[in-house]
Every structure is written in C-alpha cells, then in structure tokens.
Symmetry: D2
Subunit: 374 residues, 4 copies
C-alpha cells in the first residue's frame, strides 16, 4: 500500500477528532505514509457535505455503505454510536477493508467475538481507538516499567470519573438505553482503564464487580416523569482485579462524579517505586523511586518533553503541553505505519476482545455476585 | 468528675503522642476540664522513669496493672501493641476505669465484642484513638455534608497507603505475625478509612474483600532466609463496599505503596458536589459544587482556618497549618469533655466494634470469596 | 478578501507551528474564512521542498523575497530568527501585504518603531504571534476581570522561566549574540508577560529593571574556551512595574531556571479576589473570590471546558486538554477574521510597539539604574 | 545555667504560641535543658492570671517590669506589639537578662541599632523569633544547598502574601499606624523573607524597592469615613535584590493578596538545580536536579520525614505533618541549647539588625527611587 485511502463514517465528536488528525498527521510527522481522504458519510446531506468540505474529504454520502464499498478506501474509520459498530465493521471486513473503530467494539461480548473472528478470517488489519494509550506520558510509563524503574509490579489502581450525567435532573437520553449505549460507566469509560491495565501491567485474569445505577429514573426532555424512563445503563462500576501475573488491583468508574471532567487516573505500584497519572494533567507523569538518599525521596513530576517520544514531533518545546487531539494524531501515525506493514497494530480486535471480556466479566460478576474468570 | 486523672500505658510512638497532647491541651484550649497526669507504665524502669519525667507524670511503674489499680486514675490510656489491648482494657474496665484505647480494639473480632460488652456492662466510658477524625478539615467535611453542600451522598472512595513495608528486603518483624500484629494493611490501616466512612457517610452494610500478602516471606535481621519467616499479615487490602443507605464504595489500603507516607485519602461523591481529602495535605479540603456560573466551576482548595473549629484554638492564623500531633490534642479535649459529661464520646467501643465488624467482614469475605454482610 | 492567501517565511519551530494551524483551522472551526497556502520559503531547496509538501503549500522558494512578491499572497507570515523580522516585515509592507509576525518585532526599539510606522502609513493589517494570549483560559481570565469577578485590580506578578540555557556548559550559540538574538530572558521571554499584562491589566507606565547575565562566558561547541565567547544577552530579567492605572507589579524572567520548562505564570490581585495561571498547566485557571461563606473559601481550579470559548471548537469534552499547538489555531482564526474585516487584530504592530517600549525601557532602566517611563 | 527561667511578656497570638512551645519542648525533645516558667505579664489581672494558670507559669503580673526585674528569670520573652519591643528589650538587657524577642526588632532602624548595641555591650544572649527558619524542610533546604545539590546559587525569588487586610472595607486599626505597627507588608512580613534569604543565600548588599498603600484610607469601626483615617503602613512591598555574592533576586510581599493565607514562598535557583517552598504546604520541599536520565527529570516533592532533623522528635511517622506551632518548639530547643552554651543563637540581634537594614533600605529606596546599599 503506497498510500492509505480513508473512509470515515460519522462526523460528530470523535469523527471530527479523526478528521483533525488526518489533516494534521502529515504536517506534524512529515515522514509518514501518505493518506487520502476519500469519502465520509453522515446522516444528512447537509452535514455530510459541510463536513466533507471542512475536513477536506474528496467525496461524501449519506449512506455509510458507500464508504464501505468505495474502491479507493483502504481503511474504514467508524466513529458512530456504539450500537452501530458491529454492523459497519462486519460490512467493512466483508468488503475486504481494514477497520479503524472507536471503542468499545460493540454492545455485547458476542459483538466483539464476532468482529474479532471476522477480522481474523478475512485477514484484514484492525485498530481500536483507545487514544489515551498513545500519550507520550503513557508510552514513557511503559518504557519506565520495561526498564525496571519501579521493579516488579505489585499493584494497580484505576479510575475513570466524569460528571456528564451527575446532575440527577438531566433528561433521559440514548445514553440511558442498553440497546443504544450498551453500557455506561463500565463499558464506555472503564474499558479505557482496562486498555491501560493490559498495556502497562498485563492481562487481567479474574474480576469481581459491582455496578450500580444511582439515578435510575430520569425525566423526559420536557421535564415530566412520564416522558422520561428507567435508566438501563450503569452510573458506577467498581471492581476488584486479579491479573494473570498474580498482581491485585482495583478499578472504579463513575459518570456521576461531580467535578471530574476527564479523570482517567491510575497508579502502578512496584516493588521499588510507583508511577501515577491523571489524564486531566495529561502532560505529567509522577514517578517515585526508592533510590539514592532517602532525604531526597519523593514523587517527581515529569513534564512531557521531546525526550518522551513522539512528543517532539508535535512540539519541540519541553513542557509545552500537547492536547487531547494530539493523541489521535499519534494514533493515526500508528495506523498508517501498521497498514503499510511497518509495525503491528495494537490494540487490534483481538486486544479489544480481551478488553471486552474483562468488561463483560465485571458486568456478569456484578449480577452473579461472585468472582468471574475472563 | 472535677478533674480527670490519667494513667498511661505505653510510651512509644503513640504514647508520646498522648503525652504531648496531655501537656498541650490546657495551654491550647484554656477552658477544658483539668487533667492530672497520675501514672505511666512502660517495660523497663529506665524508660518509665525517664518518660515520666519528660511527660510530667507524677508516678511511674514497670507494671501496667499498677496503672489500672491506681485510685487516682480515672481513665486508662492504652497505647501498647495491638495484641495487648484486650487484656489491658478488660482489666481497666474491671477496675471501674474509663478507657481511652488506641485503635484497633484487639486482634480478633471476638476481642472487640468482648471489650464492647464489658464496657457496656460496667457502664464506663470509652474512646478509641481514631485521631484523624478530629481534624478540623474532617469536621468541616462533616458540616458541609450535613448542610447539604454536596447533596445526597452517592459514592465513597477510600485509600490508606504507606510504604513502611514496601521494601521486600526489610526483615521479618512482629508486624508480620498474626499473634502480635493481628492484621496489616487491613486491620491496622484500613480501619481508619472505615472510621471515616462511618462518620461521614454512615454504616457499611456489606463488603466484598480481597486481601493479599505480596512479600510473603521475609529474611531475618541477619539477612538469611532461615532466620526469617512467612509473613502472616496482609500487605494489601481491597474491598467493594455497600452502605446501609445504598451508597456504593471502594476501599484500598497498602503498606507497600512506595512514595505514600500517610496517604489516608478519600472522596465523597454527592448528587450536587464532591469533597476530597488527603492526610498528606491535612490542612486542605477540596470541594466541588454544581452551583452558580459553570464557567467558574472547579474544585476549591479550602485551607483550614479558625472558621473551621476548633482550628482557631490551635493557631489563630488562617492557613497556618496544624500538624499530626495537634489532632491528638483535639481528641483529648473531646475525651475530657466526654468524661465530664459535656458530650458523648465517639468513636467509643460500640462504634469501634462496628468498625471491626467491617474489617473482619472484609477478611472473611476475602477468604470465602463472597459478599459478607456486617 | 474572499479567501486569504498565506505566504510563510521560515519552517522551523514556529514555522511548523504555523503550518499545523493553517491546516487545522478549517477542520477545527468550520466557519472561518478560507485560506490558501500559497508559498513558503526556507534556506535550502531540500528543506523548502520537503516542508512545502508536508505543510501542503502550493509553491516554495529559497528566497523569502519570492514570498513577499507573490501576487497570490495576502499575508506574509514571518517565523524566522528575530534579527530578520524587520527587513522582511518592511519588505512585505512595502509590497502592500499584511504581516503576521512572530514576536518580538525586531532587535531594537527603533526596529519596532519603524515597523509600526511603516504599517501605519501603508494601511496594512498586522498581527504579532503572542500565542499565549489566545488560550481560552486566558480569555476567560479577561472575561472574569471584565465581569468584576475580582473587583478592581490592585497588583500584578508575572514570571516566565525556562531552563534551556541553565546548563553553564552549554556552548556558545546565536542566542548569546545581540546581533542575532537581540535579547534573552527579557526580549525573547518577558515580552510574553508584558503582552499578558497589557491585555489583562492595562498599559505599563514605568519600569525599574535589573538584567543580568549569570553565565557570561560559554565555551565553543568543541568545548574549548577560545572557540567560545562572551555572552551578550541576559540570562535573567527582573523588574518593578507601575501601570498607568496606578497598579504596582513585578516581573521576573529567567532562561537558567532549572526545572522550569514553560513556566509563564502570573497572578492578578484584585480588591475582591485573585486569579493565577501557569502555562505548564495551561488548561487550568485558579480563581479566589471573597464571596459567600468564608468556611468554603479557597482557590478554585477551573479546568478549561467548552463553556470557555473557543475551547469547544477544539474539543467538546470538558477537561479534555488542549495543547500548545491549539493556541496557534485560535490565533489563526483571529488572523483570518481580522483580515476579512470581522474584527480588529490584536496585538498588532502598535500593540507590539507598546510591548517593546516596556521591554527596552527595562533594559535602559537596568543600565541607568533608575525608573524609566515608557 | 542548669535550668532556664523564662519570663514572658504578652500572652496574645505569639505569646500563646510561646507558651505552647515551653510546655511541649520537654515531652517532645526529652534531652533538652530544663526550663522554668517563672512569670508572665499581660495588661489586665484577669488575663494575666488566667493565662498564667493555663500556661503553667508560677507567677503573673500586670507590669512587664516585674518580669524584667524577676531574679529567677534568665531570659525575657517579648511577644508584645512591635512598638513595645525596644523599651522592653533594653530594660531586660539593662537588667542583665537574655532576650528572646519576636520579630521585627522595633519600629525604626535606630531601634534595631540600639538594641543590638545594648546586647553587645551587656554581653547577653539574644534570639529573634523568626520561627519559619526552624522548619525541618527549611533546614533540609540549607543542607541540600550546602551539599551542592543545586550547585552554585544563581537566583532568589521570595514572596510573602496574606489577605488579612485585603478587604477595603476593613476598619482603621493600629496596623494602619506607623507609631504602633511601624510598617506593614514590608517590615512585618517581608522581614521573614529576608531572614530566609540571609540564611539560605547569604547577605543582601543592595536593594531597589517600591512600596505602596493601595487602600490608603479606611473607615472607622462604626463604618464612617470621619472616624477612620489615612493608612500610614504599606499594603505592598516589592523589591529587586542584589546579594553580596552577586546573586540577583526579587522580593514581593502583600497583605491584600486575596486567597493567600500564609504564602511565604521562595525559590532558590542554582546552577544545577532548584529548590522551592511554600509555607502553606510547610511539610513539602520541591527539588529539581539536573542529574541522571533527562526522561526522568522533574520537580520532586519531598515530604518531611524523620530523616529531616529534627522532624522525628516531633513525630516518628514520615509524612505525618508537623504544624505551625511545632516550629516554635524547635526554636525553643535552639534557645535552650544556646542559653546553656551548647550552640550559638541565630538569628540574634546582630543578625536581626542585618535584616532590618535590608527592610529599611527597601523603604528608603522606595522613597528615593534609587538603589540603596545596605
């Protein structure tokens, strides 16, 4: 593949984030495989046509199947609501396209199983949009761990808290429905934590979960109870974790945590040190090492800098912060290099399936009130 | 009781902390019931005599039973290792003394049950030294919650991490033995979290725990494996919590968390706001409220000040920090007021028993791998 | 002007930052005037040709005069070393082009005077690249001040510290020479502080400065003293400030401040509150207000969010950080709107001249050791 | 001197702080020279008698001269308003007593000169209550500097901000009068900064100041303008500093800085690192060192611990914070050791005079608008 033809389905929040990255990756990285912005699809012609112009795509459609069928498209990027991922991904795979899909894979574990199997059989390449993994600070954490900077891992704590549904008076929406959103704080948020845990600590082997919907009824958009409904997706997800390596951990996620905006935070406890991170300060990694003069011990706040690759491609100034959108640029570089055979893609659908097994294991465990192996 | 005669057993870490508070409470608070430092006991005459002079006690002994038997002693303060609490407390109660005992109550749940029952029958007053509860910042959190500042409570997260046993090469000690230490990260540390959860959120009803000893063998003080032994007490304790009110929570404690020195931290999630705290910055409370202009929303760092009682008794300067030892002074004021009938004492042995039921419930749950009601 | 033709001179650090913004502004903001990337220039054909491809410019040249002369170019963007700004800007103005020039204006105050006068006479529009001003957090600070959130301003403190020359063993370079760099911590860094002070507080009327070169000799790149030289540009710049309004302030800048990476920090003291900011945490604004219950007072950490315009154009997630490069996108939106007559451009060359008068006033004051009115 | 007889004048804010320390020093440190609480004085018999009981003094008086004249008093502790320091200190010296005086020395530079000269002639020992110097974190900063941890010092920045007069509507008080308070943000607050600068960096040689009274009229306690008055003491003090070593620095102090409660903060810039501190987080020292792998560089937050002497005498738990009052205990240990010949006392009246020369130099410089050598 000399250049990569992109077809984008969905132009909302994450669709725009994709488009920004597609446009930025060349100027930012320079030496990356060429990409062609072939076609995008959204529901109305007005939106599709406007976005196509803004995002510099060659063509647009109101039918996502046009994207899948487009002969110039090498990879189909899926940024639609979760309930649509499965059908689109399977169609793309069926058309022999590579697939670049936002997380989570689908609504059910079976969705993920089917998607992974289809990709495997078809031999297409896949990448799931766990963009927080592509932060130079997170990559540096991985390098520190691999270098033994904190010794053997002995504990993990993960948190992902936001407050977008913290107001009990917010009306009933698609996010409240299982058939549209799939899950809430667990499947839509905590999956990021699992992706990080798998990347930095290793595979999770067993889980004990407790999920809960605190605001279990929401009024309708007119403010009345009868036009509202019962909330089917969870507000909170808590879990105990056991990794295959024997490491113990915890995980907690909430979408009703007032004041938390993007609190994707984690701690990795090691036998000789600790690393902590909070996405709300995404340019900082905290590192403690039991090394040298104890009178000088403490957590060191490491500000991201060009020494932490590929930060320097984005800006050459140490401590000159990168932003949320920049993570997607790094992810797209990875996509392009993967599709052109320069490196393996991760997390692909196999990795994503492993994440989903943990998420659905937590859900099952919560219902059955027992430990579940995943 | 016009004045309160104190008998102190143990003059180590917490014994000294007691002595500092006994000496400071009068000059600090002024209008508190008088106390008399009657007698202290420690194991050797050299230590007992030296401490008696330093701490301004009238008498000293190498036999703790002399403290219990002393007719001028109104309250027996127990600051010895955990394994000794039960015997001393029961003897004091038997002698009709009030009891001021450091946490935890004893080694086993039965110890706590017996101690609470004995106190109840004897009608003596009791206070357990959960000194972190007496922080003006914590008291202010309680006031904020009671005033509805964060609405209805919808979540709790508690952490207590230190690193005093984080080094795998630290030798085997009494802390490793069940018959001396009772428990580790759970019983000795997480009990503080439960005391705070009970104070701020309400009673815990059910727990699902996972405790673990990461460094399960330690060498002897000579560095050899054979002079060491198997570690019986847990390094880590993780738990899912359900409060009687329906609130869900998590708890995590570790004594092998490098870089954490006194990280007794908690979050209380409410329907309209959040409060967080970390004992390592014990003069700060973080408060988020969903109130007013959203463009000005954020966590407010409230520095302790005289407006947060009884901070102003300790220092009249806003933001002029109080320290760990000052918490014990506030606790001793509470003790003196309680013993002289001005207020009820909390946490007393009944409250302490409720805490122990949670702790031992977590331990049992961890063994049985199922939820345990407490 | 229906669309804006851009000609870019220089493709290094800030040139790339420009190019990223030019490519991103359409996808990010959507409804902005169209821009055309007409021509860029850099010193060698290899670089110019490569950058032209990466940055999506139509043409390239090794002669910057080709950019100035290009009939399709409406605005000349100057991102070359400071010593070249004057000549390029004057040539562009002479050719009737608008000018978008990185700070500072030139090496001397006379440069700035000449540039401002030329632009005034020619009637072209100008914008200086003080990109830190375009941070939604900074714009929010301005809105807060204008709304009276901190009352009347009563004090200003400004800091800009980095450590790029902190190592005394770093070799002699162009940054050490007055004829190439002009100035150091004062003219190259502190000018940002003045731009912020002028924006948020108002014009500075008098200054008392103290500049100093701590590492006044540097070795050559071969490590020998004889191939090195005397450093002519200042490592530190300190100043007392008096604003026209009577407000007093301080300013301090250092390029030898170990550990500071982009510590552009400031405090604005008001009669009823305070606002503070640090560019190293560029998505946070700290606000204190003397309002409501004193027991809840404290600095509130306001995380940037869509409610702080134009943050939401960049990402719709509250607390999903923006980065350094995003500031330039906001600046380019401002440029495009200004060039197409939708708003006035600031800071233009007149504003820039006012900044330079302060900077050169500080330098003069430091030599004369007396207060200087500016 | 086998034991030290203390006479205390003044029992308000700092008088109580002294009393707490006198009572705590024995139990806290154990092996310190004995002290006897002989006599205290305050203005009314009611207060003097009550405080005497609370603070455990043997006698009390309403006449401070009784303290000075008391034959059992070895050292006179002066904690009265600043305007009284001179007379009391001179009387104590005249009576052959050692003097332990709260800062500042007096109202005028001449006061300080006279007091230092009198002490010198009489051969008595003196100590000034700059208690922030006795923080284990500050002592550790000194040790780090002496050990070369940050190389050669190349810069100093000092701040002392509070908000106790930030409200423009606070009524006129003694703090507004030169004849009672002497000075404001400069003499009463910034002197602490100078004490720290002298301790950590070395003597200041020249200053350029700018002091200012923002709220220059205040109403009376009845709220009327006519019962109020013109404020004679400064709200703000800013200064440029030159140390004898050639190091440059800045100093800024405000008593109208909303949100700052005890923001005594400083930065020491070194040729290989930096140390920063903020009294509002008095158990933390931030250290940056240009050492080892750059990818791990950052500011390390060092939590005070027993390894930082004499922290461990106060509490043996690492990270178990000490408080403001504990600083005075450490100061009193120093006093007792100094009076009994075990170490030299610092800052004594000679050191204090050097501090006053800087403070009054800043004041003079501000009037004369020129650099002043001190």
């Amino acid at each position: 593949m000399a250049s990569v033809g992109i077809g984008l389905i969905g132009t909302g929040y994450m669709g725009k984030c994709h488009a920004l990255a597609y446009n930025a990756v060349g100027p930012t990285f320079g030496d990356v495989p060429e990409l062609r912005l072939e076609i995008l699809a959204d529901r109305t012609d007005e939106i599709a046509s406007q976005r196509s112009a803004e995002f510099r795509f060659a063509r647009h459609s109101t039918d996502w199947r046009d994207v899948v069928a487009d002969p110039k498209v090498d990879v189909v990027a899926i940024t639609t609501p979760n309930a649509l991922h499965r059908e689109m991904a399977l169609a793309a795979i069926d058309a022999g396209k590579h697939v670049y899909c936002e997380k989570p894979m689908g609504l059910s574990l079976q969705d993920a199983i089917d998607m992974a199997e289809a990709a495997r059989r078809a031999g297409v390449k896949t990448l799931i949009g766990y963009n927080y993994l592509h932060n130079p600070a997170v990559l540096h954490a991985k390098a520190l761990i691999d270098d033994g900077a904190i010794g053997r891992i002995v504990g993990f704590r993960g948190f992902f808290d936001e407050d977008y549904l913290a107001d009990p008076d917010l009306p009933y929406s698609w996010r409240c429905r299982v058939d549209e959103a799939g899950t809430g704080a667990l499947g839509d948020m905590a999956c990021h934590l699992v992706s990080i845990a798998h990347f930095l600590v290793g595979p999770i082997a067993a889980v004990m979960g407790d999920i809960h919907t605190e605001h279990d009824h929401r009024v309708g958009t007119d403010g009345s109870a009868q036009s509202g409904g019962a909330v089917e997706t969870e507000d909170l997800a808590h879990a105990l974790l056991r990794f295959r390596s024997g490491v113990r951990g915890t995980l907690a996620s909430s979408r009703i945590a007032w004041g938390r905006k993007n609190h994707l935070a984690w701690e990795i406890h090691g036998s000789t040190g600790m690393i902590t991170f909070d996405q709300e300060q995404m340019n900082e990694l905290m590192l403690f090492r039991n090394d040298g003069d104890p009178a000088r011990h403490g957590f060191t706040r490491i500000l991201s800098a060009p020494v932490h690759r590929p930060f320097g491609q984005i800006t050459s100034g140490s401590g000159h912060s990168i932003g949320f959108n920049d993570l997607k640029i790094v992810e797209v570089v990875h996509l392009l290099r993967g599709l052109t055979g320069q490196q393996d893609l991760h997390p692909d659908f196999e990795d994503g399936l492993a994440i989903e097994r943990v998420i659905h294991g937590i859900a099952r465990s919560s219902v059955d009130q027992r430990w579940v192996e995943v």
